[in-house]
């Protein structure tokens, strides 16, 4: 791993001017502050059985032991034992657990960011029941405080915190949204002041999959739901979550929360974006410091509910044999397993499940911000080979998912591998098959 250090130094976030000692101290201090009873319990419970490696696609693809999930938090286990465990004074007195060095942390940047999708598959296999993914998320917080977030994630998070958009765009997303509405012939509800549902959108969809944006608006219009996008809270993604900055994650979440409150929304609807769902559904309220005055729902969840009460009626979609990529943050970690399948059933889809599907599905490989980290691409492609094989083995003609980052990752793999499948959006398929006379969207 030491050979990678130079490369990683070049990828440090702008806080790299901090001295190595200050970086290490910052990381350990941030980690120590976050160590509550729950995290301590998780760290203490590990028996070094190594079983978590067998759930991780980075290890399965490479058989390199350094990709063992619990090893990815090894410096933080060491820091916990030295600073906060029951026998911490003994460890310090006899030098049994040395201080974690800045060099070690730099090496761990690759393990915590490039080679972990935070997909949580390892958390399902641990015989001690440890939620390893939760520990990794905490370790990322510490890495960020140490100025060790990869530059791509750092820059996107910083930009999103400042402007609401994770990157500079040719025109503001608000304007792009309106253009998408015109192109697809659908009204984009914008900046209404009193609605039932507030909508937001992945910037991935705005930039790469505009039809998905139009599909969201079209479906809501079809359902007759009072809803709006808000100019000051458009982007669903949260790069603070990926980069590991709790402060920026909170600020980015607050932008949406404030807008949802401003338009008196009863529901904040998360579009097809897995990590946005995790950040808003499971973490935003904690950052807000009290329960949110509205519900947070993923669009597939919302549509499945509408289906169940009879508000949503769908035509049979002629997709042929179809397989579905379960977004980890949505399904395994978020509990939204049945909703996409209920929608596919209503669409009459002949679903060919992958060998590992549902809660046990492998990540697309791009989750956790990995798809944004340029230097991680070779490892990501290697990891994805197994996933593509599983998809091919289903003999499905159509390939769907319900997460724009999954979609982007597979699109990238399609180009890299000359793969013959194009990832489609379940939401777009729903919008194309609404049981009305409007016909399919162009």
């Amino acid at each position: 791993m030491s050979s990678n250090v130079t490369t990683m130094r070049a990828n440090l976030a702008p806080e790299e001017e901090k001295s190595p000692e200050a970086r290490a101290a910052g990381a350990m201090s941030a980690f120590a502050q976050e160590i509550g009873a729950l995290s301590a319990f998780r760290l203490e419970s590990c028996i070094h059985c190594g079983i978590c490696a067998e759930a991780c696609h980075f290890y399965i693809a490479t058989e390199d032991p350094k990709y063992t999930p619990i090893w990815k938090v090894e410096p933080f286990k060491q820091a916990y034992k030295r600073e906060a465990s029951a026998f911490a004074p003994v460890f310090r007195l006899f030098g049994l657990k040395p201080k974690v060095t800045a060099g070690e942390l730099e090496q761990w940047q690759h393990l915590l960011y490039d080679s972990c999708n935070m997909c949580g598959r390892c958390s399902l296999i641990c015989p001690m029941g440890i939620d390893v993914a939760a520990l990794i998320e905490q370790a990322r917080h510490a890495m960020f405080e140490a100025g060790l977030a990869p530059k791509e994630l750092y820059q996107k998070a910083a930009h999103q915190k400042q402007t609401g958009q994770p990157e500079v765009s040719t025109e503001p997303y608000r304007d792009k949204l309106l253009v998408i509405g015109q192109e697809y012939g659908v009204e984009i509800p914008l900046d209404k002041t009193e609605v039932d549902v507030m909508l937001c959108v992945p910037r991935t969809d705005i930039e790469h999959y505009p039809k998905a944006v139009a599909a969201l608006a079209r479906v809501m219009q079809h359902l007759g739901v009072s809803c709006t996008f808000r100019s000051d809270g458009l982007v669903a993604e949260n790069y603070g979550y990926y980069a590991g900055s709790k402060t920026w994650q909170r600020d980015i979440s607050l932008r949406l929360i404030e807008q949802a409150i401003a338009c008196k929304a009863k529901v904040l609807l998360v579009p097809e974006c897995g990590h946005a769902y995790a950040a808003l559904r499971w973490e935003a309220a904690d950052m807000y410091g009290k329960p949110l005055p509205f519900e947070v729902r993923h669009v597939s969840e919302f549509l499945a509910e509408q289906l169940e009460v009879g508000n949503l009626k769908l035509r049979i979609a002629k997709t042929g044999a179809t397989t579905f990529q379960d977004p980890c943050e949505l399904v395994r970690k978020g509990g939204v397993t049945n909703a996409p399948r209920a929608l596919m059933k209503a669409l009459g889809i002949e679903l060919h499940e992958m060998k590992n599907h549902g809660e046990f599905s492998f990540c697309c490989g791009g989750g956790g911000g990995v798809v944004d980290i340029e230097r991680a691409a070779p490892l990501r492609y290697r990891t994805m080979e197994n996933k593509l094989r599983e998809i091919n083995d289903t003999d499905a003609q159509t390939f769907l998912t319900s997460c724009s980052d999954c979609r982007r990752t597979f699109d990238d793999a399609r180009k890299h591998f000359n793969w013959d499948k194009t990832p489609g959006s379940l939401l777009e398929l729903v919008a194309d098959n609404l049981a009305v006379d409007e016909g399919a969207m162009s």
Binding site: G36, S85, M128, G129, I130, A285, P291, R332, G335
Partner: protein
């Protein structure tokens, strides 16, 4: 004071005190750390979350079928020697007499022939566990002094126990003294290392299981 008197007298008393104080302190130290309140809207209520925790406490004893092809052999090895240890510790007549004197209850024992077979199998499995730890690249990388020393003190008790029952290697009194001393050593080491997992395993599974169940997440 001979070796046996030392082992089951002052040495045992010291070991029991270290064990009890150490275990309690290690658990209390965790409990005293801070807790964070969950403000997010749960998918499942308190009762269902608790039930989910209880379920995971049991269900994690067996891997999900999706994982068995990759983990089955390793887990079988791990569970086998644990079962062997339980049989030898809890079903051997003299052990029942020893532990029974502390708890005031006695229970039926297994024939000594069965215990001998269980001991030999357990010892063999412990050797296999060590072999796997040093040859498997993942395990070797994860392992530290705690892993090897915990293995050593556990195996030492088994080995001295087998020597004692077989009257092999010295006078019975000396062998029994060594066996009890090795048990004292295990008790003293217990709170400092990974042997504590016997106290953590079910609370850990339950707690994480309950939190996952609260979200309706996979567990």
């Amino acid at each position: 004071m001979d070796l046996l008197e030392l082992a089951r007298g002052p040495a045992l008393k010291v070991a029991v005190v270290v064990f009890c104080v150490g275990v309690v302190w290690r658990i209390v130290n965790i409990i005293l750390l801070h807790y964070r309140r969950n403000f997010n809207e749960p998918r499942n209520g308190f009762a269902k979350s608790v039930l989910g925790g209880i379920k995971v406490a049991g269900s994690r004893s067996w891997p999900h079928p999706e994982f068995i092809p990759r983990t089955g052999a390793g887990e079988a090895l791990g569970y086998s020697y644990h079962i062997g240890l339980f049989i030898v510790i809890l079903a051997f007549g003299p052990h029942i007499t020893f532990f029974g004197s502390f708890v005031g209850v006695r229970w039926p024992n297994l024939p000594s022939g069965v215990i001998t077979i269980a001991s030999v199998l357990t010892f063999t499995l412990l050797l296999a566990v060590l072999f796997r730890r040093v040859t498997n690249r993942v395990l070797r990388m994860l392992s530290n002094f705690d892993d090897y020393f915990s293995w050593f003190v556990t195996t030492l008790v088994i080995v001295t126990g087998m020597m004692t029952t077989a009257h092999f290697g010295g006078p019975y009194q000396t062998l029994l003294g060594l066996h009890i001393l090795s048990f004292d050593l295990l008790l003293i080491w217990f709170p400092f290392g990974k042997l504590m997992h016997s106290f953590y395993i079910f609370p850990s599974r339950s707690l994480n299981g309950a939190l996952l169940s609260r979200k309706g997440a996979a567990s």
